[in-house]
Symmetry: C2
Subunit: 202 residues, 2 copies
């Protein structure tokens, strides 16, 4: 029936998924390996058979998730079109992600202090490759094409990501509504600012 290999793969996937859900709901230190094992319907022994430590389970879960996001956002970077169009595509893809996957991004910032040394660096690099660097590539093109004012592209891309993070969450849902309104809000703010456009009078 199922080979041992695919049995392993299934178990590993179940453990990763359980870990994801739990780490989203509680801090790293407040999630025990027992909880993860129980949620994945294996025992602690089974969990430790596949992962060498709690820390590396977390890292492995994050790395595989971030790699998925990187691949997704890469499509927007590869797209032809204006800077604004490509950022719209990337942001729309992000906002349309299932809640759990979208929320996972903020875990990097929340838990990064938990780790040290090389593991910490791997996490940071994976995050940067997944999101800010993709935005940065588009921003760079925008500056080169004269669509954006000359400024440090990294700073601009981080700012853009920060603005996107604001429109996820309950308050934004109430005052803005669905994906497209949020998108308009973010793009409007980033490209044109919050000021009343010159030449428009109330």
């Amino acid at each position: 029936m199922a080979s041992q290999d695919s049995r392993s793969a299934t178990t590993i996937a179940k453990i990763r998924a359980a870990a994801r859900t739990l780490f989203l709901a509680r801090n790293y230190a407040d999630v025990t390996t027992d909880m993860i094992a129980r949620a994945a319907a294996v025992t602690k022994g089974g969990l430790y058979h596949h992962f060498p430590s709690k820390e590396l389970l977390y890292i492995s879960m994050m790395l595989s998730d971030l790699e998925g996001k990187r691949a997704l956002f890469e499509q927007a970077v590869a797209m032809k079109g204006t800077c604004r169009d490509r950022l719209a595509r990337l942001t729309r893809d992000f906002l349309n992600l299932p809640d759990e996957e979208r929320e996972l991004i903020r875990l990097v910032r929340r838990d990064i202090n938990t780790f040290h040394g090389e593991d910490r660096n791997r996490l940071i690099r994976a995050y940067q490759r997944a999101l800010p660097e993709q935005v940065e590539a588009i921003v760079r093109d925008g500056i080169a094409a004269g669509e954006l004012a000359a400024a440090d592209p990294r700073l601009l891309s981080w700012s853009y990501v920060a603005l996107v993070e604001i429109v996820i969450g309950d308050h934004a849902a109430r005052v803005l509504g669905g994906t497209e309104s949020r998108l308009d809000h973010v793009l409007g703010l980033f490209f044109d600012g919050a000021e009343v456009p010159a030449g428009v009078m109330a």
Copy 2:
């Protein structure tokens, strides 16, 4: 010499300061009460004489710090002038804070999941009173005065705070330099956006 009262006050202050430094450097769970006590040059017994629990020590430290920030930023809110001038004042005050005090703001977001129930709510409320609500007051005036486009003021103020958070950190220091350049960058981005201004050609 020193009265008992002032001896207590000194010890409490030393413990709070030690806690602040340690909680900045490591996660809540990774800072032990022993470490705090040692860094404050008292013993655990002494620490627990003044604070009922680790959790309430953290909360008390944060609340007293946030109240200080609230009082500081209130001056910018009370100021006369344009929306832009008042935001500049508030942001300048923030950027000129000593590193440790400035960084403390992000702890709220990092550690908020650690707490539950009423303590958690008190933390959140104190943070909101200290920073976003002050910005929101200025933004509201700006909208009313026609300086800012009509939009949800809370969303705008959160966005502004997010942009400010970007310009603290090493990269911003390298590419922007000191306080005034960072200020210009934030205000420019927030009010005018990242787009090349209309009518300006390279």
